[in-house]
Symmetry: C2
Subunit: 83 residues, 2 copies
């Protein structure tokens, strides 16, 4: 699993995929991360303007990690589709 993320929509996708992959419901994720179910819903649907702290909470609860790198000119190696 590897998602390139450049918009809130991408992000929402990545979060949802990861959650589903772990067979979690939004409500479960909510209680594990401290982020409200309603908020998770919005985020997964790409509602812009989420706060970083909220993101980090979800990322941690989902056992994901975020990396920042230079933009790779060519060869998007092993990346899944971007929506």
């Amino acid at each position: 699993m590897k998602h390139l993320v450049r918009t809130s929509k991408n992000l929402g996708h990545a979060i949802r995929e990861a959650r589903k992959a772990k067979n979690m419901t939004q409500k479960e994720l909510a209680s594990m991360s401290g982020v409200w179910q309603e908020t998770i819903s919005k985020i997964e649907n790409g509602s812009g303007g989420t706060k970083l702290e909220t993101l980090f909470d979800l990322i941690a609860a989902l056992d994901l990690e975020i990396t920042v790198t230079e933009r790779s000119k060519g060869a998007s190696d092993g990346l899944e589709d971007i929506f």
Copy 2:
């Protein structure tokens, strides 16, 4: 350049490094990204709660990219220090 980011502080570091690497001043980054210099200052210093949209603006202006992956259990391959 590859930064693992799990907190706002990490993020700030990554941003600052990338900016310096490009010999840009906060003001220049500001005009390129549409994010205020004052805001950039706060972000680089790890002020929590930045909005995602703002982040994406900076990332784009700095030619960086964000990826979300599963947390790699072992071997942090080629990652720079995390602060």
